[in-house]
């Protein structure tokens, strides 16, 4: 047999850059390392600034097992704190969003302000003999920076600023995200049963357009494979651009009205930027989608999807934008459920070692359906992790 059980483990004759071992999805030790070396050190897109529109607006979320809260201060600055009470450790705020000048823990009513200071302890006299001071009971602050309206956090206090980390990668979004005119109109989240990288790959792999009926109809035949650009940037960020869509080629969809295009975008433009490691921003003329994937464990992830439009949209325009967004990208849309299906299907292949590797070997000179984004993504993974994606269970460099 050509590919019998005996030969299955042998990797094809291919450079290490073109092969990814299934162990990157399943190995617990690799996942523990990712928590430290990837999620513990990289900038993470937490939310869009429009979700914290007013002073004292807050958003809570979990990041790698840590409950966090981002709050816009009275001074307009967004800060992020561990959403954990300094007293007996309770998660302080349970609601996903709200507005509060004081964050008061429900348990014994200790309160914190918008800077994370502990400002009230009921019946504090009882702590005198122990020497406990309010000043020692502040919340733990996590680095937070805003870039093009996107709120990023970093668990590593020593990481370089987010603008340096992103570099030129978000330039294609400078006019739209940079306009300050955008707001989030769509949010949904789901637990998917697959390794987190399998989701990110659906935004890195151009070749899988074949899977989507919608893309086969509206995208594969449009423009030219030659005008597409697959690019990579410093720090592992990547971009796929130069795609075009003819929306009226899919039954039930209509061409986009140029008047509805977002700043800097043509109505039938499609491009996307993947921010390493776990975010993707996709622009389709009339709507922008932002994906963020966060692992829960090595085989479970949380995906969050946001849709952005213009703050000043009339009700009619907003409704149409929602329609455009959700046709492709909503939970009842044509595309996203297919990507989620694919991610979970790959998980089934890799989970117990039935599949042992995947190939990311397509080369089309940085055009068409080149796997260049996937390779660039895994090159950064190799650098951060000190492991080769082709043979990841042997760490090649210690910390």
């Amino acid at each position: 047999m050509e590919n019998s059980a005996g030969t299955r483990q042998t990797l094809p004759e291919m450079p290490d850059t073109h092969v990814v071992s299934g162990a990157v999805y399943t190995d617990k030790a690799i996942f523990e390392d990712e928590k430290r070396r990837v999620f513990g050190q990289c900038w993470h897109l937490a939310c869009h600034e429009s979700e914290l529109g007013e002073a004292y607006d807050y958003r809570t979320f979990d990041y790698i097992g840590t409950p966090l809260i981002a709050i816009r201060g009275g001074d307009g600055v967004v800060r992020t704190f561990m959403n954990v009470c300094s007293h007996r450790g309770a998660k302080i705020i349970q609601e996903p969003s709200g507005n509060a000048k004081r964050l008061t823990c429900f348990y014994h009513l200790w309160s914190y302000d918008d800077r994370g200071n502990c400002v009230d302890i009921p019946r504090p006299e009882a702590y005198e003999s122990s020497g406990l001071k309010k000043d020692d009971c502040g919340l733990f602050e996590v680095r937070t920076e805003t870039h093009l309206g996107l709120v990023f956090i970093n668990l590593d206090d020593k990481a370089p600023p987010v603008a340096d980390y992103i570099g030129a990668a978000l330039d294609p979004f400078a006019d739209s995200l940079g306009s300050g005119e955008l707001e989030v109109f769509h949010y949904n989240r789901a637990i998917l049963h697959a390794n987190w990288k399998a989701w990110q790959e659906t935004n890195l792999d151009l070749y899988h357009e074949w899977m989507h009926v919608l893309l086969r109809r509206t995208q594969v035949g449009e423009g030219s494979m030659n005008t597409r650009v697959v690019k990579s940037f410093e720090n592992g960020h990547t971009m796929g651009g130069g795609l075009k869509a003819s929306y009226d080629k899919y039954k039930g969809m209509a061409a986009r009205d140029p008047g509805m295009a977002l700043p800097g975008l043509g109505p039938d433009d499609f491009f996307f930027v993947d921010l390493w490691p776990n975010a993707a921003l996709l622009a389709r003329g009339t709507a922008i989608r932002i994906d963020v994937v966060t692992p829960i464990d090595e085989k479970t992830m949380l995906v969050e999807w946001r849709g952005l439009g213009l703050k000043g949209d009339s009700a009619d325009v907003r409704r149409t934008r929602m329609q455009h967004h959700n046709q492709y990208w909503g939970p009842f849309g044509r595309n996203v459920p297919e990507d989620a299906f694919a991610a979970e299907a790959c998980e089934l292949g890799f989970r117990h070692g039935a599949a042992t590797r995947q190939l990311i070997a397509r080369e089309e000179g940085g055009k068409g359906q080149d796997d260049g984004m996937l390779r660039a993504w895994y090159a950064e993974w190799a650098r951060r992790m000190g492991r080769s994606p082709a043979n990841p269970t042997n760490a090649i460099a210690p910390d």
Binding site: E51, R59, E95, P96, S97, V184, F185, H186, Y187, N188, R189, A190, I191, L192, M211, H212, V213, Y250, K251, G252, R306, R319, M322, Q323, N326, G330, P331, F332, G333, R334, V336, P337, E338, A340, F341, A342, E344
Partner: protein, 137 residues
């Protein structure tokens, strides 16, 4: 029942040509009401026709509906119906789980010789829909 059986023609046949369908849901994260699916009669028909070509959730969905309130307007031409629904998903191995819970706010056109669904608002309580669904609720 028609949607459960994925008999989309039969479902469309129950809808009036003025059909107006939305799936709405409130996000406490961004504090906004959203419309996750927004279709008229033609749109719904096209969407359902395309479903078989898509790669979609395996297994079957089953809708369980309890009618709460039925109200007729003065001329008895239009009835508004409020119902609670849950949808279960049964995977190919036969394991069933709750997929989504919500409320239908329907308008039924009673003018013709048979009742036609004129308007449906499916308001969801459930917000995590896993991989999502190509088939409306």
């Amino acid at each position: 029942m028609a949607l459960d059986a994925e008999d989309f023609t039969a479902f469309i046949d129950l809808c009036s040509t003025e059909f107006d369908y939305r799936i709405t849901v409130y996000s406490p994260e961004i504090r906004k009401e959203m419309i996750w699916l927004d279709q008229d009669y033609e749109g719904m028909r096209a969407l359902l026709e395309m479903v078989p070509q898509h790669l979609k959730r395996l297994g079957t969905l089953k809708r369980h509906v309890s009618v709460y309130i039925i109200d007729h307007d003065a001329t008895a031409a239009i009835a508004t119906v409020t119902s609670s629904f849950i949808v279960t998903h049964t995977d190919p191995d036969g394991v069933s789980q709750l997929f989504v819970a919500g409320t239908y706010y329907d308008e039924v056109d009673c003018r013709g010789d048979r009742y036609l669904l004129k308007r449906r608002r499916a308001h969801l309580e459930t917000r995590d829909l896993g991989i999502g669904s190509h088939i409306p609720i």
